[in-house]
Symmetry: C2
Subunit: 228 residues, 2 copies
């Protein structure tokens, strides 16, 4: 087991542990991505504690020593799984917000919608849905690793979005806006954690609307809450 591992920051998500020369396995990027996909599924399905490196290696059709070569520890593998897609999520959120604010005229509906679109897009693919489950689990994990990962993925976008909202709602205190933004986060994480949730609580009377309608539903609800 290697204990010293690269600690990729989101600011440089493309950095990879490089090892040139005879020790470096063939098909570097493909294998690494394949292991990350498999680990994402495994962590999402079984949770961090129950997922095993051996099973991940077997499901990814690689040797366990290759998994060790790339990630060293289960903790490091989890970190990289989360930061890979979490980094893209953060980047998309920043891009959408920049696009809106650069237009000059925008309203709080635009801001809230931009925050919701990237995670809802993840529902479209099986691999994206694994990440959403993993993320819901992470938000229920109050340990150090969870704190650290959430900070890396969430902090910058949340502050940028709250900053944009502050310009539109100048009479609200920063504290109020953070309290309300936290409620928006709670809403979308809960809704995305399980597609059957609405069906479940309504006893089958209602079901989850298509992504676009659900986003608009949250936009209406949250913007009324933000303005109140």
């Amino acid at each position: 087991m290697r204990t010293q591992m690269s600690t990729d920051k989101l600011s440089n998500p493309s950095r990879r542990p490089k090892r040139n020369g005879p020790g470096r396995p063939e098909g570097h990027t493909e294998n690494r991505e394949k292991i990350l996909d498999t680990a994402e599924k495994s962590f999402a399905t079984h949770g961090y504690a129950a997922a095993s490196g051996r099973e991940i290696a077997s499901a990814a059709n690689v040797t366990q020593s290759m998994v060790n070569y790339y990630f060293g520890t289960k903790r490091q593998m989890f970190r990289e799984v989360y930061l890979r897609r979490g980094g893209r999520l953060a980047a998309e959120r920043m891009k959408l917000l920049d696009r809106i604010t650069s237009r000059g005229q925008f309203d709080i509906e635009d801001v809230v919608r931009a925050y919701l679109i990237p995670p809802f897009r993840l529902q479209a693919t099986a691999q994206g849905r694994y990440f959403l489950r993993l993320q819901a689990r992470l938000h229920a994990e109050p340990d150090e690793l969870a704190f650290e990962l959430r900070r890396e993925v969430y902090d910058r976008p949340v502050r940028a979005y709250v900053g944009a909202l502050q310009k539109l709602l100048p009479h609200k205190s920063e504290e109020t806006l953070y309290l309300r933004f936290a409620q928006l986060i709670g809403i979308y994480l809960y809704i995305l954690s399980d597609a059957h949730r609405i069906q479940e609580i309504s006893g089958g009377k209602c079901s989850m609307p298509p992504s676009d309608s659900m986003i608009e539903e949250i936009v209406v609800f949250t913007c009324a809450g933000l303005r109140s």
Copy 2:
């Protein structure tokens, strides 16, 4: 391991597996409650997969055969841990709603507040906080056991509360009210899953207000969302 266990329903939370005669351990109720408290802490801290019956027995200062005697399987122990406090939560919610609706005149703020008070009360004790963590974890678990337990604890109160809201907001469809009630559930679960969440996302600029203020903050936000 006993495989046939009583499946206490919430409608009869006081039912206990009874075994009279020489096989029944001394201090029946005390031991059982002590094991449930310890298991609640353990499941909250380590998660379902990582918690072990042996460690729970050791921490509760009882033998593992006593744990097996009362609960049979880890799954059954988790079930009883969750239903014990979840059942009280559901009962309190029903009681508060009855109190409000029997007054004749009430508004949606009263209904939302009544839904939030019981889980926020759990923050006051260490054991209650363990349950809140366990509950946050459960809502991130999309498996069969989680579905079943959530149904038993949540269904009845959610339907009663949505029914009360429907009388106050007769122009809203039942579907809209369920979609909005789901957002309220997402908010309070997220806020209660970790007392440092607000501090974290705001980069230390804000912190979680005292329970009563946080409840009022959610009431204002959610009621604006419900009316919109």
